[in-house]
Amino acid sequence: MAVYVQFLIDVLSLGSLYALMALGLVIVYGILKLVNFAYGELIMVAGYSLFLLGGTPLPWLVMAAIAVLMAIGAGIATEYAAFRPVRSKSVTAVLITSFAFSTLLQNAALLFISPRARTVPLPDIFSDTVVLGGATIPLRNILTIVAAAIMLAIFSFIMKKTVLGLAMRAAATKFTMARMLGIPANLVITSAFALSGLLAGVVSLFWLGRIGSVVPGIGLEPLLVAFIATVIGGMRSLQGAVVGGFLLALIVTTFNYSLPPELLKFRDAFTFSLVILILLWRPDGLIKGPATGQRT
């Protein structure tokens, strides 16, 4: 019993992070049909913000809020620096500028802070545990699930019930047509980047909670995870991103529990093989979004 509870909580908490991360990637992709490769650095920006605020007497929640705001700011900055100037030029141009912006941010962290890991302040509650169905569970994992549920609810409300959400969904289906009706494209795109920053910012708090410190290259793994989750779930669908995130977490956690120790270091190889099988079965991902045509 205890092991099942533990397994379930592990899948749900890891899946929550993967799902939010994937959602942030796909909301930009949905509108621009471009992957933001500087997305992982939003986690890094939030991480170093927490580290720099660590010396201040601010309560942790205030530090966390500032870190999330910094991630939102970095998201918007990505759009202005890497996307807007070359958006209409070519896919390759944006690919390169977003990689360049990612490298720039990482090197700024290397240069101005340190290549070594820096400890971030975390609240005491993150190291507490609770006993649930006989299993000892880190309270952090429960908080992750709760936070993700709240974020998904907020996100779904914004997309379904607000004017901005309506405009973003319209722009995600037919960008040119949305523009031709008079929808302000730049506003919609900037909002998408801001939302993606919000999601990455919230993820970063719990991601850092798991590892406790920040390094310049911290963004790579979350970016990769988000990318794989969206590919499995379906690049064109917001629901797909969430489903893909949880599915990837299920796969990873299952291997964590079932692989013998000597094979555990090859876990990612097993995971990716399974991902390839899923893609052979459903090349467009599990959930097909609306058929979309032109990019700009």
């Binding site: 037919k174 031709m180 009706l181 008079g182 609306p290």
Partner: protein, 248 residues
């Protein structure tokens, strides 16, 4: 009021190695329906694209109510009331019918509440109430067409450019659509351009015709007048038809 018209003035458009429009002018007044006719590839859609700003002419200007709007982007022209539909339906397929119309009203600057009223009215006017909450992707072709026109109207256009609005519709559907379209110019102080190949339909609906062939205007004026022009008959049916018409 004077100058209440959308005009293309001596517009020339060149694509690589091809002159798509050659010194073409067009005037669309408010409260009229202008039929744009001509064989396939004659430049009708290109002319619409010039009016909406999707294609930049190499020479010539576009004016709206007396003001030169040649430099404006499609979006800016939409906000000034120049809206269009496309030959292929371009609905927001993952939005409901209601949302499709609402988003256009909001883009134009209506408040949420005002947009709601506009949606209600258009759904009723186009008999789309039953599909209100359906996804646009689930509609059949004729309904999609009607949603597209309702969506354009939600943006409160002054000039509406319809590229083959009845294409793919059956007789009943196209007759219903025509009844709705015929009322619009007076009701909404609106000028409409219709491109269509269905000549009986065009002749019933339009107040004026302009015929284009190979990028040039070959005739314009009243419906009966343009229809009888030898150049028009020739462009549509070939030179032989003109001769037989003359002998008749």
């Amino acid at each position: 009021m004077v100058n209440q018209s959308l005009k293309a003035n001596s517009v020339t458009v060149e694509f690589v190695g091809l002159r798509a429009l050659d010194n073409v002018s067009l005037t669309l007044n408010r409260r009229e329906i202008l039929g744009l006719i001509g064989p396939n590839g004659s430049g009708k859609t290109t002319l619409i694209n010039v009016l909406t700003g999707q294609v930049k002419p190499v020479s010539g200007t576009v004016t709206c109510d007396g003001e030169d709007i040649s430099a404006l982007l499609p979006r800016e022209r939409a906000l000034r009331g120049i809206l269009r539909s496309f030959q292929t339906v371009r609905l927001f397929s993952n939005l409901t019918v209601e949302e499709n119309i609402e988003v256009a009203a909001i883009a134009k600057g209506s408040s949420r509440r005002a947009a709601g009223r506009i949606v209600d009215r258009l759904l009723e006017e186009f008999s789309l109430g039953a599909y209100r909450a359906e996804l646009a992707s689930s509609l059949n072709y004729g309904d999609e067409r009607r949603v597209e026109i309702a969506r354009a109207l939600a943006a409160e256009p002054k000039y509406l450019l319809l590229d083959e609005p009845a294409a793919g519709m059956n007789e009943d559907e196209s007759a219903t659509l025509m009844q709705v379209l015929a009322r619009l110019p007076q009701e909404r102080d609106l000028g409409i351009i219709i491109i269509d190949h269905d000549m009986p339909l065009i002749m019933r609906l339009c107040h004026r015709l302009q015929a284009i062939a190979q990028g040039k205007t070959i005739g314009e004026g009243g419906v009966d007048e343009v229809r009888r022009l030898p150049a028009v008959i020739e462009a549509y049916l070939g030179a032989d038809a003109v001769e037989s018409e003359d002998h008749a």
